[in-house]
Point group: D2
Chain length 407, copies 4
């Protein structure tokens, strides 16, 4: 069945999305139309055909779309990753997917009705506001935004950035992470609240350029939250559950992000191969330079290994859950960001000056890949996590006894 | 004397340029004023004080400014490299410096009076139009633009891009490389002509975004040349001398570019050190993470080595000329682009998300550094040059005889 | 069942092999006893228990041992890889396994009876003589040894090296590659012949030190073949089938080699973790240096990815055969050699001076890993193969049309 | 003058040393003659011609040989580095040079007469015993050997390894580092004593194989010191001055080591060029593979930069002394070890299997280069030092104020 779904997605991609790349960019970048008519039409079609919400393994029977496991979603995500906005056609786009996921897991029925339902229908957008400019947010304990309880309301104060998508006018919901109890035990200090974007005290400060580029549909947004009040009913999950929910959110979000990047990389490698076959310098076809051959083969090597690791991670996530797949989730974050980054770098060298411009997807992809090494925690944080788990897993072993010392 | 000049440049930089970084960016990016009033005033001051045209070792006695050797210019270039527009204050900016240089070397007295003089005064700007979108331009033999002689005129037809600065309204001169005699022996097929930008048939197609970023003052420009006519007197140097002049142009241009990048890197390293001292994650100051220490120390190592090589190259260029310094010129191109690139990468990891934004110089610098690996020939071309020279220098030796075989 | 077999191998490894590391090294290096008594006893036990010839997926029903697929053998190979001589206990050691494999595939019944049978019983050893000192053997077409037909005999003349194991006195069989018909079409010029090591004209020149180390059990051997005569019945496969057989030999040989290396790497990572926990410099435990954590996490990342790729390759080899798994076989060669090499390098930095000595397995492993990048074709050859296949697979596609050009 | 000296050394090298490579190796490795007759003769000639002790910038007027600065010694050291034993011909070999240097600086007249004089004449050898197997010696504070004062004697107890040269029968002097006062302030806990190798209680445990290789002339030696007694007059320098002297020793030792490695690398690059010109695979000369060209050009790039940095370091050492050159000394340690290591790696890939054997200098050089990354402190320690100095030098600056924040 998954194969059949992927085939249908592929057909829509090939016939309806890929040919409209230029139309879309013109609509968004020139006309400022963030959801052009053909996109709306494609979304309706995808919804009607059930090619919808495929990235939500917890999709309830009464929720619209088709429930797939993370592993089943992999080949579809690879197709969608080829073009930035393809995911939105099928309501499989970030950050709404991970936001929907935590609402599915932690929201009350009332919260679901109000905030999740319209997201599941693709009628609105949401943003996750965690990272802050004033602290090293890779350590979530540093998050300083205050969420203070005053009677039956929470009052939120803080500055956020990299709240993806918040500046999109269609965005109506902010999921805000902040300190509810600074005196609580480590890991229980923070909570999440659902903040309507139009709540008094919410200011969209600006869209932040990332690697010199301002995104419009899912802009990295700076937000100011000044005495923003929400009813206590807007808390997501328990008080103090902020990190727990944050962790739950990250697993699948990363896996999907990795899958999409892998799909993009397939296109990039293919473009490199075709370029190598069509250009000539110093009397030699590019394809006959061994360094060009190496660049392409090394790209394949990195991509193939990254894909297998991502697939295993998806499989573990499906079978064992977020917690047991933790090491794998950190590993793929590092591996895919690196592979993606390196492939872009090699592609630019093969394309030369053209690779730097907007006439190939390399420059834009490189910027994404570069940022990917930072988002969801810089590589460094994940390496640390992997090390800690490596230590733990070996607990009690004593290889040194057996393998050290002169044999 | 050089030290004293550098000190004076440093003071102007510190007191007049650095404090106006924000003013400048606002003028250029928001107001579209590419030469704001304070810049004009600073140029007048620099001119009056003789801190002018210091990047032109061939500056004639009757030309304005102070003649310095390439080596003497090194510490000054490092100061200027810290902020993008600082070079312009002292009329030491690319691409006008290398363009002036080839005019000094190859222009007739009439050409000098008309085209060089206003550049030396900083009254106009120029652009060098070599690279073409339709061919692999890293091999200059591929350059396809035709410069056909018809009677006492040349007719130019072709498409160029990466003609730096051409789209700046102040630019009045294009130095165009093209084929004058496709049947000439290799190396003698191309010539250069001086084309007034307002000549009929010249179309500025667009400013090309490079790494997602559109430059305005020295934009990478795409040009269409359709039946552009210039008198034969506008040929620069002899017919067939296109590559010769191109080679002459590249040496000093690269050296200066490298020096500026090194100056920028000094700032970047310093920012990394300060950041490391001021942030804390997981209970540890960034400065106590050994990987952060390594990142900074490795940056110092790369920079120090690159600087020494650049200085030696400048010294050789001054003493032995372009041709004998050829290997060094290729080496610094590779070394500095890499060092600059790696330093930016490390800086972004240390700054985290902020490093991706416009609140630090890292993202912009990374884009520059990335492009630097392509401009003036991708690394690959220079590695090839180095190899060929390495082969040549060892000609006749036979180390294998002495060092191979079981001892 | 495979799990149960692996468990039994694990027990023998843990109880009988690991404790005898020192005994074995002493026997071989000090006493010159290449098959000490306890090894013989262990072999008998393994044979008796059917833990024998597990690396031969083509094991016939009437051949001794247990037939496993390549994929089933993977976890067992990982156990055996931890200690160099463990494979021999179970008759799963190189180069006899790949040699037996081509005999299984290409030998006549008579050849099998004479040459394969004793190998299957572990009673003798064999060597594969392809690489030559006088030509760049990574391109097998360069192999220059002549195998000339004279009546009903072949006369072999040439110089070989890296004929693994040939100098071991127990080795009785050389499988020699050479030119039978220099005028044949490319790919049909070479054949293989079975040469008894005691044939007149065979000279064992020396054991070649590799990375300063002379192996004794499976020494890299230099051979001189002077007018060595064998009956035509000693040709393996058809005349001109040399490369075909060579290719058939390489697939599984590489996969097994990779699996063993992965098992070794598991030990090395574990040793690094334990060392990091037990040493302290400059007031900090090694395990708290982020660069040490990174080294270990990066090792895990590389190993995990390499393992998945190796397992997929084994699976493909089992299902699709050598030819269709060709790209994967080249990919794992590169990936595992790199991972192994890098892990050794990192381990040495963590162990410091001790890592260079014989008190840890790192130095020996690094030498192996270094050589691994050359054996079976240097990385460069495999990158080239991957590139060619990449080109082929994309044949007819035209991504450039869809993804290039300003969107 | 230096040029003239270098020329004379070059002639001896070319005419007398290089042709005897095989003789020397045979004498040492096969015959066990660590100072063959022709070496003795060459030493006499070098001594007679004053080409002696050129690596000792503090050479007193009444000491034999020619005093050169570190910078003057550079070109000579590069010649000597090409062949391992060439330095010994001119009494410029490690570890005797740095040992002589600290004797020159810190020894009493009596100590000089007894221990330094015969070293200056090349009549004996010495060893420096600092590193210990039982502690992480990269942090010298960990050194645990006890040097206890008992009356007018010191009693030394401890285990040392990597005491270079100690196991050479000609070695008569051990310079031992150990704790004299564990309660002293940090940096004053350790002292050095001069221990005659034949003192009771000194046991030469073994020559330690490094990267699988046992050196005989300057073997990495493990020593056991059990109740070894020396008179207090044998203390070198003041009590507590152990680290001070150790620091003084390291500067020039590292610089010379780096210079020699650079000379070796010149040979290796040359061999790579020649090999590339002489081999052919897959229908293409190696020299036409761009990846081979890159490998050689990258080697040149690394070497040229390393050399410049080493020369500047020598110049600083000569002018400013050990302490002010500290950052440079750490930088060259890292840079040269890396360049040397990478050049060996690339050479092996170009030479293929032959590069792994004893028929080229690559395998031996790689082992040396690998160890070089550990000796005198692993790279990690030097990166840390560089970082600390980088922090210190920027003290008080505040670039962040000027360069951060949206411009």
């Amino acid at each position: 069945m998954t194969r059949e779904i992927a085939d249908r997605v592929e057909i829509i991609f090939r016939d309806e999305i890929l040919p409209r790349r230029a139309d879309y960019d013109r609509a968004v970048d020139v006309d400022g139309d963030l959801e052009p008519g053909f996109l709306k039409a494609l979304k309706r079609r995808a919804f009607a055909e059930g090619l919808w919400n495929m990235a939500l393994p917890r999709l309830a029977d009464d929720e619209p779309g088709t429930r797939l496991t993370n592993l089943q979603f992999a080949p579809i995500a690879e197709i969608l990753g080829r073009v930035g906005w393809a995911s939105e056609v099928f309501n499989c786009h970030a950050p709404d997917v991970p936001n929907m996921e935590i609402l599915q897991m932690f929201a009350t029925p009332e919260q679901k009705a109000r905030y999740l339902a319209p997201l599941l229908l693709g009628e609105t957008r949401s943003s996750f506001a965690m990272t802050e400019p004033d602290v090293a947010s890779s350590d979530a304990n540093n998050i300083a935004t205050r969420i203070e309880r005053r009677g039956d309301r929470y009052v939120v104060n803080g500055r956020k950035w990299f709240a993806t998508g918040a500046a999109n006018p269609k965005c109506s919901l902010l999921i805000v992470v902040g300190v509810t109890d600074p005196g609580a035990p480590r890991g229980r200090t923070h909570s999440m609240v659902l903040v309507p974007k139009d709540a008094p005290g919410v200011t969209v400060v600006r869209k932040i350029p990332v690697m010199n580029h301002v995104e419009h549909v899912a802009p990295h947004t700076e937000l100011l939250l000044e005495d923003v009040e929400v009813p206590v009913e807007n808390r997501l999950g328990e008080e103090g559950a902020g990190f727990l929910i944050g962790q739950a959110r990250l697993g699948p979000a990363r896996v999907h992000h990795c899958m999409r990047a892998i799909g993009r990389c397939e296109v990039l490698i293919r473009l490199m191969v075709e370029r190598a076959a069509s250009r000539r310098t110093f009397g030699t076809d590019l394809r006959d330079y061994s360094s060009v051959q190496d660049a392409i083969a090394d790209s394949r090597l990195a991509l193939e290994q990254a894909r297998l690791l991502v697939q295993r991670t998806a499989w573990r996530l499906d079978r064992e859950g977020n917690k047991l797949a933790r090491k794998d989730i950190s590993l793929i974050k590092i591996a895919v960001a690196r592979a993606y980054h390196d492939i872009c770098q090699r592609g630019i060298q093969i394309f030369g000056a053209m690779g730097l411009t907007d006439e190939t997807p390399f420059a834009e992809s490189l910027s994404q890949a570069r940022a990917f090494r930072i988002y969801d925690g810089p590589d460094e944080v994940h390496l640390r996590t992997v090390f800690r788990l490596e230590e733990k897993e070996g607990d009690g072993l004593n290889c040194s006894k057996d393998y050290l010392g002169r044999a």
